[in-house]
């Protein structure tokens, strides 16, 4: 008994001594795991602040910080599609970081202006069409090049999309089509496409993976994910739709009420710096970074070579518009298509 208590005290003393490190930061990350890990590792080395990192999808993060509102257990939220960051900013779940954004690209500054500095753009991902070259050739189907091509009868049962009710990617796609064609025409187009759709997946990145693995032939998703799959060696090709395409803005936000605001601000400054953003290439991150000086891959999509729409984040990021579009999607599209049975 005496021995145990003596060793307990020794242990306690040792732990006390080791607990000297001053600052620490809890980050929740919605980017690819490898990118999350790399950023945390570099941040630790460069700033000396200890980081604990967990990866969660944007939906999960939003649910978590809503539940934890007022007493947050994470300090910073980095990555993911921009809409949930906007929602969080609107609901007061995040707080302005006061980080200087003047060096960043225009769209990153826009996002900060729109949210009064609560969410700052960190990267952009462009929407594109993706197809499996082997399957397409096997079945003798034409190569898709526009959104309208997806309605071709040859593609019956060959297209996989994601469900906007659960996926931010799919919502970006829905909002893009609405902005391109107007709401009514967009829905009639989606209705025609739905007849070809074999599955509406929950996750936005799943359709791309299914096409890469040959489980499906054509999908829609973010181009940077597709570049990654292509570089891994899958027989796939990426198309930028001829009518123009939309994009998502990934962001970084500080959670409202964090006890580690100063360290959190250091994190925000860090992930917006050119050096930190350039390192994404080491782990296959091919999106467009928000710092103009950050290096990019030549094969990665860039905003100049792709026909882009002027994505209206204020309108289509608002919860009224979102609810309206999703409800209409549920009634008109989900019920009539998207459940192609073989």
């Amino acid at each position: 008994m005496k021995g145990t208590s003596a060793s307990a005290i020794a242990l306690a003393a040792a732990l006390m001594a080791s607990a000297a490190s001053a600052q620490s930061l809890d980050v929740v990350c919605s980017n690819e795991q490898a990118w999350c890990d790399l950023m945390a590792q570099n941040f630790r080395i460069d700033t000396g602040i200890d980081v604990a990192m967990v990866r969660k999808s944007t939906g999960e993060v939003l649910a978590q910080i809503r539940a934890e509102a007022g007493n947050p257990k994470v300090d910073v939220w980095w990555g993911g599609t921009g809409d949930p960051h906007l929602i969080a900013a609107n609901e007061g779940l995040t707080t302005a970081s006061g980080v200087d954004t003047s060096e960043l690209l225009g769209w990153a500054q826009n996002m900060a202006d729109m949210t009064e500095g609560r969410a700052i753009g960190a990267h952009v991902g462009l929407l594109g069409i993706f197809y499996n070259t082997e399957l397409l050739a096997q079945k003798g189907m034409p190569v898709p090049s526009c959104w309208r091509d997806l309605t071709r009868p040859e593609y019956a049962g060959e297209i996989t999309l994601s469900n906007p009710q659960s996926s931010g990617t799919a919502y970006t796609q829905l909002a893009t089509l609405v902005q391109l064609f107007g709401e009514d025409e967009a829905f009639s187009l989606l209705g025609e496409i739905a007849r070809n759709v074999n599955q509406n997946t929950r996750s936005g990145s799943a359709p791309g993976r299914m096409v890469a693995r040959g489980e499906s032939t054509i999908s829609v998703g973010f181009m940077h994910d597709m570049v990654n799959l292509k570089k891994q060696g899958f027989p796939v090709e990426i198309v930028s739709p001829c009518e123009g395409t939309g994009y998502e803005t990934g962001a970084v936000s500080i959670i409202n009420g964090t006890p580690n605001f100063d360290a959190a601000k250091v994190w925000v400054e860090y992930v917006l710096s050119a050096e930190a953003q350039s390192r994404g290439l080491e782990v296959g991150v091919y999106n467009i970074p928000s710092h103009p000086a950050a290096t990019t891959d030549p094969e990665a999509p860039d905003m100049a070579s792709v026909k882009l729409i002027d994505y209206d984040f204020a309108t289509y990021g608002s919860s009224e518009m979102r609810e309206h579009l999703l409800e209409r999607w549920g009634v008109e599209i989900r019920s009539q298509g998207g459940n192609f049975e073989e």
């Binding site: 690819e32 990866r55 539940a67 509102a69 007493n71 994470v74 929950r202």
Partner: protein
């Protein structure tokens, strides 16, 4: 009684005066609060003297019970006084915790007063009050006047109330919440509860999709039936045949339980998907159109059969082993043939096992989250709908709560049906009497049926696992089969330079997962088996309600538990989010019901005469439990320990909400990798987890061993 109550009185007083009352920053076990004991980590007595005088209230209970102990002479009156004063103290403790909360997150009665979450001092104090109550109750003659029994019942009831009912209350109130924060009501609940997208029978009556509740039910019934049949076939092969490769079969029946989620689904896609290896092979061979049949009901069912058959087997093997040979010998002596013996004697005696296996299969299936997520396609089930109602683009906690209610009613209906089927019959065949017979071997037709069911299944499972290992070593499965160690290197790299550094991406979550599972498993087994003992061997008021409440947490899908825990334990009085403790607690109460079911099944076969013999010889119930029941419960303990350890490592749905930056779990890491399409590293990590769990299970098996009921060479040779 007086001594026990006095002891708890002292403990309660010590907690009030010496331990830090509130949550300690960092960890209690680091004992850093020694330094700050006079300031923020002060015990309740200092707070009460200072700025939080309401802390005197709970002490009132303790003082009154001390008065009862020393002033009241009549034993019955004294016991009554103890119960009343203890309950008063506990009530005041809970009341002050709920009314005076920090951060103004809940309705506070007093403006401006706050307090942080309760800590070790409050916990020990509450426990002391609780045990004063239970000791008082035993003094009133309940639980055969045994303070140990009433204390155990009290502790389990309190734990279940705090960690199942309290968080669930948050979810269920939100089921009746009106949109836009306009209070509560039925006007929205009823139409949403009976909505056609939940109950539609379109897939049975014509074209279209069924409602999610119908899908879940059909899937659950199909899986439960399938797994019970398969589990029985395996159990019979093990106990009633002289099959040679039993060891190999044993490993194969264990493997699926220790497989992390998503892995079976991934391998099935890579094998049977549209471009899967087998699909392509047979498609080219016979010229069949390659389809996406795997994505839907049958794919999910197949994956669930692979995942859950072993659970049915684990439940059944104990029961099938336990059927006493003397019954079968009696049957054969009465000139019944082997089939008649099996049909009319052995099978009915296995009923508790069959019913439990079916129940577990059904609950596992409807609560399963990983397989429908990977293979569901357009086949939606309740568990995934709930998940997406919470994390989807449109967060709708009310819908999640309503769907949870439906899921809960499904599992509870099955539970009631199971109870009715078992009825009030007696299944005990292990008695204290001499019993040296041999189990009857199966008749040939039945034996071959078992082989025909189980062996192809085992072969398929074997192929899956060989492929998992193979896949973890190939660069890009399906396209580039160059062998490589890259996936392992990325996950588990170690750098030896100025000491040892675990630089691989998976190390963090790997260590966290193992330590949390190792803490949770023995606690889960202990709570589960203690509950089983109370349910089978003891009689007390409200026993049915007690059994029901301990099983409830299993019927609640993990997703709902996860969100409920975040809602309930993010604020004082009990603040647990972002700790490792919340994960441990979640695992204990998620997995406890399996320990309970297994314990009940095993214990209902042990005849009560054993306990009675022990009590006659002067042992109290604690000694009987320790010296007589526990040694006979080897397989049940092993099953409970193994199951809870493994589930702590492989469960995903609740964990996803409870992991934090400091306590990340393996499954959460895997979900990220699978989402990102990095199957290689996911499969490599899974392979490492499987090997680790296998090693732990073998170690447990060696440590706990098998119970020796009778002669070991008791199979009739033909």
């Amino acid at each position: 009684m007086k001594r026990t109550a006095g002891l708890w009185l002292l403990i309660g007083l010590a907690a009030f005066c010496l331990l830090p009352w509130y949550d300690v920053r960092g960890s209690f076990w680091h004992f850093r609060w020694f330094d700050t004991l006079s300031t923020q980590d002060a015990p309740a007595i200092l707070w009460a003297i200072g700025e939080r005088p309401w802390l005197w209230l709970p002490l009132l209970g303790l003082i009154l019970s001390a008065a009862a102990l020393f002033l009241v002479k009549s034993p019955v009156k004294q016991a009554q006084a103890l119960v009343i004063s203890g309950a008063l103290g506990l009530g005041l403790l809970i009341g002050q915790g709920l009314f005076v909360v920090g951060f103004g997150a809940r309705a506070t009665v007093f403006e401006g007063v706050t307090q942080p979450g309760m800590g070790m001092g409050a916990f020990v104090f509450a426990a002391a009050l609780l045990f004063i109550i239970t000791t008082g109750i035993s003094g009133l003659g309940r639980g055969r006047g045994d303070a140990f029994i009433t204390g155990m019942v009290g502790a389990i009831v309190a734990l279940v109330a705090t960690f199942v009912f309290y968080p669930m209350a948050f979810i269920f109130t939100s089921a009746f919440e009106l949109r836009g924060g306009q209070g509560f009501g039925l006007t929205e609940f009823l139409p949403r509860f009976f909505a056609p997208d939940i109950w539609s029978l379109a897939c049975v009556t014509g074209r279209g999709q069924c409602g999610v509740a119908v899908n879940s039910t059909l899937l659950g019934l199909a899986t439960a039936t399938g797994t019970t049949v398969m589990g029985l076939a395996f159990a019979l092969i093990f106990t009633r045949t002289d099959f040679r490769a039993k060891r190999l079969l044993r490993v194969l029946t264990v493997l699926p339980i220790i497989t992390p989620p998503f892995v079976i689904g991934l391998v099935l896609i890579l094998l049977l998907g549209r471009s899967g290896t087998l699909t392509v092979f047979f498609g080219d061979l016979f010229g069949i159109e390659k389809t996406r049949w795997l994505y839907g009901f049958w794919g999910v069912w197949l994956a669930q059969m692979l995942s859950f058959t072993p659970i049915a087997f684990l439940v059944l093997i104990g029961v099938v082993e336990g059927v006493s040979p003397s019954m079968e010998e009696a049957s054969q002596t009465l000139n019944a043939n082997r089939w008649q013996t099996f049909r009319n004697v052995s099978l009915p005696l296995m009923r508790p096992g069959l019913a439990n296996a079916f129940l577990l299969g059904f609950i596992e299936s409807v609560a399963d989250f990983g397989n429908p997520l990977v293979l569901g396609g357009n086949f939606n089930v309740l568990s995934t709908e709930i998940y997406f109602a919470i994390v989807g683009t449109v967060a709708d906690p009310a819908k999640a709560a309503i769907l949870s209610l439906i899921l809960l009613s499904l599992t509870l209906t099955t539970f009631v049906a199971q109870r009715l089927w078992l009825g009030r019959k007696n299944y005990a065949t292990v008695t204290g009497k001499a019993d040296s017979g041999r189990n009857a071997a199966l008749n040939p037709a039945l034996r071959w049926t078992c082989y025909a069911l189980a062996l192809p299944w085992a072969a398929f499972t074997l192929v899956l696992y060989v492929l998992i290992v193979f896949g973890s070593f190939t660069r890009l499965w399906g396209y580039d089969h160059t062998l490589t160690l890259d996936h392992y290197r990325r996950a588990f790299n170690i750098v030896v330079r100025n000491g040892v550094h675990f630089t691989g991406a998976a190390w963090d979550s790997f260590f966290t997962t193992l330590s949390i599972a190792a803490i949770a498993a023995p606690l889960t087994a202990a709570v589960g088996l203690a509950t089983a003992y109370l349910l089978v061997r003891q009689n007390f008021a409200g026993k049915n309600a007690f059994e029901f409440s301990t099983l409830l947490s299993f019927a609640i899908p993990g997703t709902v538990i996860g969100v409920a825990y975040v809602m309930a334990f993010n604020f004082p009085p009990i603040e647990l989010t972002a700790t490792g403790l919340i994960l441990v607690i979640c695992f204990i109460f998620r997995n406890m019901p399996v320990g309970v079911r297994g314990g009940i099944a095993a214990m209902s076969q042990l005849d009560k005469s054993l306990d009675e013999a022990s009590s006659t010889l002067g042992a109290n119930s604690f000694t009987t439990l320790r010296r007589v029941i526990l040694p006979l419960m080897g397989p049940a303990i092993l099953a409970a320990l193994t199951y809870s350890f493994v589930r702590a490592i492989t469960s995903v749905s609740a964990v996803i909400f409870l992991v934090s930056a400091r306590y990340n779990m393996a499954t959460s890491f895997l979900v990220g990798r699978v989402e990102n399409g990095e199957y290689g590293i996911a499969i490599a990590y899974s392979a490492v987890l499987i090997v680790t769990m296998l090693a732990v299970i073998i170690a447990l098996q060696l440590a706990i061993g098998r119970r020796k009921l009778r002669r070991t060479d008791r199979l009739e040779t033909t």
